[in-house]
Every structure is written in structure tokens, then in C-alpha cells.
Symmetry: C2
Subunit: 346 residues, 2 copies
């Protein structure tokens, strides 16, 4: 069983994974880039993976067989496990709890050689439908305080397996980044009765210096205080706190603009490694000591997708201070991306 | 002039560097690993660098000539500049200030082919003396709220130039990691009249599960909630808030244990990329509205060096949540490092 441990100096929880239990040899071999013998995410290897928890199968094929278009499975080496209880405890000065949670892999396509940007808008819509389905399912479990969906593309961005996939983690505590954003948004709303992100969106659309693209439902922009070069946010134009409330039609519009954004990045930066993260409202919010409603905070929190190409390293300065240096102003990044031709394959 | 911009959602400042102004081409070329034609940190190229601000020259040679053992120069492409004023301002919803600060490079040896771990304890002592001298000098400038010294070793850890060096940055705001640690330590002291790190040290020495090595002055341990595999802290055994107060003799003892630690990591993990960071007390602490004394907080803050081998990637999950996954428990890391032979060259 892995453990969550509290860092009393940095005031944050860390997942310490006993089960994975990586020894020095593992890190040394990894640096020598040992290749996988057979990809576990391709058709025909469904019996080698964990049992699927969700799939889109237009041909009506049976679970854990070929025929799927998107497939969701629990991570084979999960950082957190779904069975058990938290068993919160103190060890002298220290605090720990059991590593309870969910860790799933969303396999975006059966095709080993196509990345997310290569999929058709309809195929990307199916990936987003899988996100929505898993969010809806896992938020029922009251042990999970937060559910995060993210994608690592490219080795430098942390992708361990090249076959295109995203990941989901349901965690038993609200993570620090979410806590900060939720409290900032709540405080802002409390003072002004307006959503912070709605206000930012209005100002950004007015000044029009950092907008990359927009359509009737979404705006893609380079944030004013981008932590990384070419960092982007995809934000719903109309206030919405919960990604899981998107209709199929809205998912289709999001798929189109997500594909366009990924193609622009690829065209300008030559297939950069990247991460994206869905910042969504937490599944429940304790108001007056009891869960008020699923997908809460409808007024003050505004969901978004944060997309970060990994062009600079997080090094000693960033790690030691939490302070970031970005050598490309977001206005410059937005200008390059705006004028990029997403149809050009480099 | 670079700018500091406030991220209203993440509640943190970002340095946006207009001057460096990196364009897409720069990132693409960097990934193709264009090699430097001539190393600017070697003997004979002193006139190609900025003017030195400190050097150790046992032969009495003149500044900006060869003959030095350690040399400190302002970064040629500084993220922050020393001239000017902060000019704090609001831009609609957003906040900015000028990028005022210092950004220096500590060249640790004239020898291009020796890394920090290869230097003799006396040579490493000289590097630490340079740290101390620069801390003492820059803390006189009241614009600088915090001074951080850090080292990036290896390309994966962010080292741009292979010639062994560390860096220093003086920043006009207290960075988030420092703010958290300072306030946690102050609160703990306020409640218990004991230093948090002294208490942690006592418990760690008692349980003896995570100690790697110790001598009369310093303890090397793998922290209980290590964010990364094989993360280490070098902590003064007796309470001290300020690295700059170390005597030459104490610096010598630190140099010996730092070298030993780097050699153990090298032996166990085959020269891993790493970062280290000196967490020191801020140069001044405003008590009752006025600077009380240089190197303040003598009771509640305890300095330390944090050393992080970069074996895992900071990917979507970590970036999106601020929550870390460490696949090697610190007890396991400490055991491997304790039994390592630092004299074995792999």
C-alpha cells in the first residue's frame, strides 16, 4: 500500500509509493532508454492489461477485446489504490494516510502511430466523452476530494509509453494548486459578485494581445503571467464550473479547437513535448459541514484546460523558490500561434 | 527590462523576460543540441564575460584575468537586472513590476572537465566561501527580499553550460516556497518555543531510518516526505539560521560532507542530474515595520541545503496539482546511500 505523507515544512502531501518501490537500477536503466517489447495499449493485448472501466465500442464488441475506439483502464502500477480506507495517523512529528484513490489511463486511439493532434475532431470528441464519463462515475465516491485529468506528450513531458493516452487521478485530499485557485475565486466572487476568470476573459478579449483563437464557445489565450513559454489556456467563453456538464455538441466544438491548438503548437514549435491539465471544480464542496451538491461552486469557479509545452526545464531556481522564469512573453507567443497555419505539417 | 507579473489565479509572481525574448526557433535549435564553440568559463576567456564581482585568486592575479580558483560574474543574459527601480503598477486586473534583482554565476573551478564532486574539499570550501561572500554583499541592498543560491548539474537538471557552476539570484519579492517555510517555522516556534527543524532532526536521529551520514556539524538525511526519489537535506546539527555566519572551519566540514554526499549519489545512481538549493533566512525581516537586523529570524528558522537528483519528470500531474509522486521511499534511498562506497568510481 502506498502512503501519503505530509511535508511539515512545505505544507504539502507527497505520495510515497512502496509498491512501485523503484531501486537505483531502475533509474539507471531508464536513462539508458530500454524500449518496450510490445505496446500494451495496441489492439490484441487487451487481456494483458487491467480490466477496462469504460470504453467506446461502436461495433458493440465485448469488454477487454479489440474493437474499441477509446479505452479506459486502471493503471497497472497505480500510485493510489481504490480499495481500503485512509487510516489517517501521526508518527511523532509526522503525518501519514494510506494511498487511497484511483489512477486510470485513457487510451485515446487504438492506432499506435497517431498522436492526439492527428485524430479527427470526432475521435477527439470521443476522448473527451471518456473524460466526462469517468468524472461522472468517480465523483460519486465520497473519499475522493479531487479528480484530475492530465496528459503527458513526449518523453521530456513525462510520457512513459509513446502510444497516445491521458491519465486520471482521483485523490483523497484537495491538492495545493486546486486549493489556491478555489479560494482565490471564492474570495473574488465574495467581494465583487463576479467570476474572476469571466473578468479576465473580458479584459483579454478587449485588449486582444494574448488571444490565439476563439469560437462561439471557447477562447484560447496565452495567460498574462504565463509560467512557461507558449503556455495556453482553453477557457469556456460562457461561465461554467464543471467540464462534466458539457453536451456532446459542446464537446465537439472543444475537440475542434483543441486539435487546432495542438496543430498550431506543432507547426510553430515542431511537435514540442507538452502537458495538459483539466482544472475542474472539485466533486463536492463542504458547505456548512455537509456536501452541498456534486460539481459544486457553480458561481465562483470557472473550469479551464491548461496546456504547457515543455520547452524550458524546471531547475534549481524554480524548485527552490516556486518562482518561475519565462523567456518568451505571452504576447509574443500568442502572435506566433495566431499567425501559424495549423494545416502545415512541418 | 524584464517584468515581474502576478498570476491572479495561482497567486505567484512570474519573471517574464522581454530581453531574452526567445522565439520558437531558439527552442527548436536547443532541442537539436547545438554545441558551444568555446566555453566562456575556461581560463583565457575572462575578457569575453561580464566583469567579475568576486574571485578567489591565491596568486594575486588581477580581476578578469586567468589565475582564479573560483570566479563570480553577473549572468550575461540576466533574468533580473540590478539597475533601476521596481515601478510597481496595475494594468486593469493585472499587476506588474520591473525585473530588478541580481543574477550571478559562480564558476566553481577553472577546470572544464571536473565537476563539483571531483573537486578537493579545499576547492569546495572555496566555492562555499564565494557563496558566503556574495550573500553578505547582496543582502546590503534593501530592494532584495530574498537571495537564493542553487546549482543545476546535468542537462536534464537544467544546466545550460557543462562547465561546473552554481547560480545566485537576488529577488525583489519573497518567493512562495520561502514564504511558506518561514511562516510555518515562525508559527511552530510561536507555539512551542522550539525550532521545527531542530525537532525533526532530533526525531530523525532517534529513529535512524532516514539518516545517510552525519559528522560533528552536519546531518545528511532523506526527508520523511521526500518529493523526489533520493532527495536529501544537509542540515546543520546545531541551530543556525544563516549560512553566511559559518566560519572557514565550518565551511571546510560542510565541503567534506557535501563531497561525500555527491560521491555517494554518483556511486549509487551513476552520475545523476541533480539540483541543489540553499534555503537560508531572508536578508531582512520587517519587525514592527522596520528592518530588525540582517540575517534575521535567528530562533525560528534553520538553514539547510536541499539536494534533488532529477530521476523522475515533473509532468502534468505534478504541475497541475502541486502534488508529488515519489516511487522510492526515503528509507530505501537512505539505506542505499548509507551502504554506498563513496570512493568507488563507477
Amino acid at each position: 500500500m502506498s502512503q501519503l505523507r505530509w511535508d511539515p515544512l512545505k505544507m504539502s502531501w507527497v505520495i510515497i509509493s512502496n509498491e512501485r518501490g523503484r531501486r537505483p537500477r531502475d533509474y539507471i536503466l531508464e536513462r539508458q532508454e530500454v524500449s518496450l517489447t510490445a505496446c500494451p495499449f495496441c489492439y490484441g493485448r487487451e487481456d494483458k492489461t487491467t480490466h477496462e472501466v469504460f470504453a467506446i465500442r461502436p461495433d458493440g464488441s465485448r469488454p477487454d477485446t479489440s474493437g474499441w475506439q477509446v479505452r479506459v483502464i486502471p493503471n497497472k502500477y497505480p500510485a493510489l489504490r481504490i480499495e481500503g480506507n485512509l487510516d489517517k495517523r501521526g508518527i511523532g512529528l509526522f503525518d501519514a494516510m494510506n494511498g487511497i484513490g484511483a489512477h486510470e489511463v485513457i487510451i485515446e486511439t487504438p492506432d499506435h502511430d497517431r498522436q492526439l493532434a492527428d485524430l479527427t475532431p470526432i475521435e477527439i470528441t470521443n476522448v473527451l466523452r471518456a473524460y466526462r464519463a469517468r468524472l461522472m462515475d468517480l465523483r460519486k465516491d465520497p473519499r475522493f476530494r479531487y479528480i484530475i485529468i492530465f496528459k503527458n506528450h513526449g518523453v521530456e513531458a513525462g510520457a512513459g509509453i509513446p502510444h497516445s493516452h491521458s491519465q486520471l487521478m482521483a485523490v483523497p485530499i484537495t491538492p495545493p494548486v486546486a486549493t489556491t485557485q478555489l479560494s482565490v475565486c471564492r474570495e473574488y466572487y465574495g467581494r465583487k459578485e463576479r467570476c474572476l476568470l469571466c473578468d479576465i476573459l473580458r479584459q483579454e478579449l478587449e485588449t486582444d494581445e494574448r488571444i490565439v483563437r476563439s469560437n462561439e464557445e471557447f477562447v484560447v489565450l496565452a495567460p498574462y503571467a504565463s509560467h512557461f513559454p507558449f503556455e495556453l489556456n482553453i477557457i469556456p467563453r460562457h461561465h461554467s464550473h464543471d467540464f462534466a456538464l458539457l453536451t456532446d455538441q459542446e464537446l465537439g466544438i472543444l475537440a475542434e479547437i483543441l486539435k487546432d491548438t495542438l496543430l498550431r503548437l506543432r507547426s510553430v514549435l515542431r511537435d514540442p513535448p507538452y502537458n495538459f491539465v483539466l482544472h475542474n471544480a472539485p466533486p463536492m464542496h463542504l458547505r456548512l459541514g455537509k456536501p452541498a451538491y456534486w460539481g459544486s461552486l457553480p458561481y465562483d469557479f470557472h473550469w479551464r484546460i491548461e496546456l504547457v509545452p515543455r520547452l524550458t526545464k524546471i531547475a534549481g531556481f524554480e524548485w527552490g523558490t516556486g518562482f518561475y522564469m519565462n523567456p518568451t512573453p505571452p504576447e509574443v507567443a500568442a502572435r506566433f500561434l495566431r499567425s501559424a497555419d495549423p494545416t502545415v505539417v512541418y
